[in-house]
Amino acid sequence: MRLNNRKELMELIAGKKLSRRDMLALGGSAALAAGLAGVSSKARAAGKFDGKSVVFASWGGAYQDAQKVCYCDPFAQKTGANVIQDGPMDEAKFRAMVEAGDSVWDVGDITHEFLFNGIKNNLFEKLDLTKINVARVDERYRNDYGIGDIVWSYNIGYSTKTFKDGTHPKSWAEVFDLAKFPGTRTLPGNSPNATLEVAALADGVPVDKLYEILATDEGIDRALKKLSSIKDKLILWDTNSQSQQLFIDGEVTCGMILNGRAYDAAQKGGQIAVDWNQNIQSIDYLVIPRGANNIETALGLIDEMTVAENQAKLANMIAYSPTNKEAFATIDQKIVPWLATSPENAAKGFVIDGAFWEKNLEKISERWEEWKLS
């Protein structure tokens, strides 16, 4: 069983993020609105992809269920295409299929890190941008090979039981301050990305110099040394479910958690909140495997996934942040504060440097594993 795959795992363990009933409750009105929109547009563009199929591979669980309802079903209705759901996404499998020259998938939902790795290894079709209305996607969240459909973020999470009334750590420096903010903290352990960034930030590296400094051995040493200063009070989480569990059970008082995971834990009654300061955003991209069988239909499906109403509906269902900012017009105000791309939250953070990690992941992973063993 492959388990480092964060998303695959989190869906696997936690099952559905929200039950279908929750989804209906949250997305009911939006679903109705989108349903009506679907009917009217069906009359307009029916038959564009009649008889065509497209295989969509994503991460399973509540996320892919929501993608099916919000993206794939409206696309099928409008164009007559048959969208086949597959998955879970597995980057090793993706690569093996493309290298064997026989990709079963036509559209894949992949991580930011894999986008850069895949571009280097020539795993994707270059997107025909005349077929996708790219202008509606924020330019930070797209690329010649991939279009972002959701954004998520690594946040400062804290226990509202321990830290009441705004007394919580508000920067990574404060998360690393054991004297001022007592208790055990948690950071992701399966991969150094994001963790190394926050350690460097905590040590006083400014955001605009962050990747320049981490590209050097001295920079990595500096970040690891900062991590050593809290090692005795640090639990590394390996899966997102574990990060939730640690907060819900009061095992840790603060640390790093993904925004969607904190939202989910809070919905389930966990005493947890996030601070958006210095959040690190990451993106899920839609790509077409090189040599895919149904490229035209795939481009159509990707285009459908950038539609504001569709992205809003998905955000209302599972609180993943849209890449099309028009989507905020119809997102529930109760959910907006949890979203990484809301103007207020996005301004407090930055997008993880996928190109940096593609180049340095191997080297830094070795250092990271060594640090863990030391």
Binding site: M1, R2, L3, N4, N5, L12, I13, D90, E91, A92, R95, E113, N117, N121, T184, G189, N190, S191, K231, L234, I235, L236, D238, T239, S241, Q242, Q245, D249, G250, E251, L361, E362, S365, E366, E369, E370, W371, K372, L373
Partner: protein
């Protein structure tokens, strides 16, 4: 076996060949062909300290698990072999329960039980046995607890099968001839159960070498095992070559263990009857 029946194993051979031997061979081949022909991947394993350390970690954790399973499993198997049928059925049932539960669920259950706010710590504190919750998880103790629970049946059943076949008159005869209980056990009973003990230890140790979920979820930073690194190389970095090299090391290590054990005990004497 008569040659005439050899065709009966053709389906099994085909299945194993296509779905096991070939993919494994393919991955192992990658270790010397990807990204380029040569032994570069193995040089990396030797040169960078992290890989050898993790390998050592893997051996130590697997060895500790095997020893703990033997210490816990031996008396358990003895009880099973020498108790009434009803108690025996109950024991078998209890030992088999872990087999029917997902590894992930079990690991999460251990998290809930062993953490600072967990049942075990809270009980110990409320009974006044300890003043402060102690760290039972996210360290070696947590890893071993989880692994011993999962792997115990592999120790108990070979032992049990050997113990039920021991002629009960042999220990009695030794006692009649004046052997005190400890000596009786060491000179008569233990040697008779040795094939089961060695097989169980081998099964547990070899299964443990490839463990991945349990150390990831229950261990601390220092408890990384080799399977985690293999997954990381493939899943996070798409680096089949280095993953293949790590797999070669794991496979060769396992084969060496098997060969060593084979020298001491015939697997057939336990499994083959």
């Amino acid at each position: 076996m008569r040659i005439g029946y050899a065709w009966l194993i053709v389906p099994a051979c085909l299945l194993l060949g296509v779905f096991f031997v070939w993919p494994v061979f393919w991955l192992l081949l990658k270790s010397v062909t990807s990204p380029s022909l040569g032994i570069a991947n193995f040089v990396v394993l030797v040169e960078r300290p992290v890989y050898l350390r993790v390998l050592w970690n893997t051996i130590v954790i697997s060895g500790s698990t095997a020893i703990l399973c033997a210490l816990i499993g031996y008396p358990l198997a003895y009880t099973m072999a020498n108790t009434g049928p009803r108690a025996r059925r109950l024991l078998i049932f209890i030992i088999l329960i872990p087999f029917w539960t997902s590894l992930l669920v079990r690991s999460f259950a251990w998290m809930v039980l062993l953490q600072k706010q967990g049942l075990v710590n809270q009980s110990l504190v409320s009974f006044g046995i300890i003043a402060e919750p102690v760290a039972l998880i996210f360290n070696r103790f947590g890893v071993l607890t989880g692994m011993v629970q999962v792997l115990l049946p592999f120790m108990v059943f070979p032992l049990y099968s050997v113990m039920t076949r021991i002629d009960k008159s042999l220990p009695s005869a030794a006692a009649t001839l004046g052997a005190p209980p400890v000596r009786n056990f060491l000179r008569v009973y233990l040697p008779l159960t040795l094939p089961g003990l060695v097989t169980g230890t081998m099964l547990v140790f070899i299964s443990a070498l490839g463990y991945y979920v349990t150390p990831a979820l229950l261990g601390g930073p220092g408890d990384t095992m080799i399977a985690q690194l293999i997954q990381q190389q493939i899943g996070n970095m798409g680096n089949w070559g280095l993953a293949g090299a790590l797999a070669v090391v794991l496979l060769v290590g396992t084969c060496i263990c098997l060969a060593v054990v084979q020298r001491f005990v015939s697997v057939r004497s336990v499994m083959g009857r």
